[in-house]
Symmetry: C2
Subunit: 236 residues, 2 copies
């Protein structure tokens, strides 16, 4: 089937990959920047770990639960608009036909050229409604079952990402020979490597050049951490 092969070349990111990318981008960046920032102000590794874990809890819940409720709202919005279109193709079919013709008109087709398709659509109300949702309103049908899985994937990726920069600080709580300054250096090293690898993989899945995506991702983390470090040092 040449058609399938052809569309596959346009493939970018699956939904699970997208959720992992969303969660891990922020998870690797914000806890890293917070821990680095606090190291500029506080010489107590226990407080940095506490703040880091509190941030991971807050950030993962805010992203996961926020994403879950946003997805539920989007599904309800879609259902509501669909009901409206369903009513309208019955109650004001001529107006709706004009809207279909209008969609084609915006692609340069005359009324005469689009008339057959408008008539054909109007004979199949269900398909007609599908058409209006997609082409007039630009709404894709959301999958309500995905909301929970999506929320969990985002939150888990945030936690997984956030534990990487915190790991050296957590070790430093137990290994007294490891100073806070050394923990910061180790955290910067492992997180930059993780951001780089993550950015590279992200680039492969999202269609950006992997090397460029790797450098950009590492850069965002570095700028965020640098700014947090400066602010914490300035006010402490």
């Amino acid at each position: 089937m040449p058609h399938t092969r052809h569309t596959e070349r346009h493939f970018t990111a699956g939904e699970t990959v997208r959720d992992i990318v969303i969660g891990m981008s922020d998870g690797l960046t914000v806890p890293f920047a917070l821990a680095a920032g606090l190291t500029g102000a506080i010489d107590h590794v226990g407080i940095i770990v506490t703040a880091g874990l509190a941030e991971i809890a807050a950030g993962s819940i805010a992203m996961g639960l926020g994403g879950y409720l946003a997805a539920k709202s989007a599904a309800e919005h879609y259902a509501k608009e669909r009901e409206r279109e369903k009513r309208e193709v019955v109650e004001i079919p001529d107006e709706e036909k004009r809207e279909v013709a209008q969609v084609f008109h915006s692609y340069g087709l005359s009324h005469e050229e689009s008339a057959p398709i408008v008539e054909a659509l109007s004979k199949q109300p269900k398909k007609w409604v599908d058409f209006m949702m997609r082409f007039e309103l630009g709404l894709e049908k959301p999958d309500p079952k995905r909301a929970f899985v999506s929320a969990f994937t985002i939150a888990a990726s945030y936690v997984a990402g956030g534990l990487i920069p915190l790991a050296p600080y957590i070790v430093a709580v137990y290994v007294k020979q490891l100073s806070v300054a050394t923990a910061l250096l180790l955290s910067v090293a492992v997180t930059l490597i993780a951001l780089f690898v993550f950015g590279f993989i992200k680039g492969r899945y999202t269609g950006t050049r992997p090397m460029r995506s790797a450098l950009q991702t590492a850069l965002i983390g570095s700028i965020a951490a640098g700014a947090a470090f400066l602010i914490a040092r300035l006010i402490s």
Copy 2:
């Protein structure tokens, strides 16, 4: 113009409103939860303010800069796919015509019904490419100039949102009579009110019932703050 009036009823959120919602949702939630969490573990208001401001810096940069680069990537991805479609309508027009027919076929139209529109489109290569971008690939043309404004709006909204829960702690740094516990109570009070008002307004713009949006937004903030508080208390 009845058509314009009709589509306006479907209007949901403008792009600037959407950016403010994105930034402020997280800005009101995560710094709030972090400050509340740290209050469960640390009795030093200066450290809480330092951590809160470091988080605001890190979070706003991660969101703003991350959003900016994502928008740039999306614009490049669109341009690349458009170039490909532009080449294909010239090099393999029959294959591309089959793809247009395939789009209409998925809406229940026979080959005969869609043939006139396929022919009409194929006579206007630019419109044809537009059609393929939107209807075959489902890609909307991104506005590259919006990337910077969008990033700035998101970051500024994050900062504005984040300063609300921190304000009582900042006051407590200067007003020695204000204890950390009182600052926490004030922070919870002002932030819950802010989340509620923000959720209400967000609901009005996004089509969710305002009262329900208000309660959901306040709930996410409360759960995130409660989790951060518990984790910080458990490990400290």
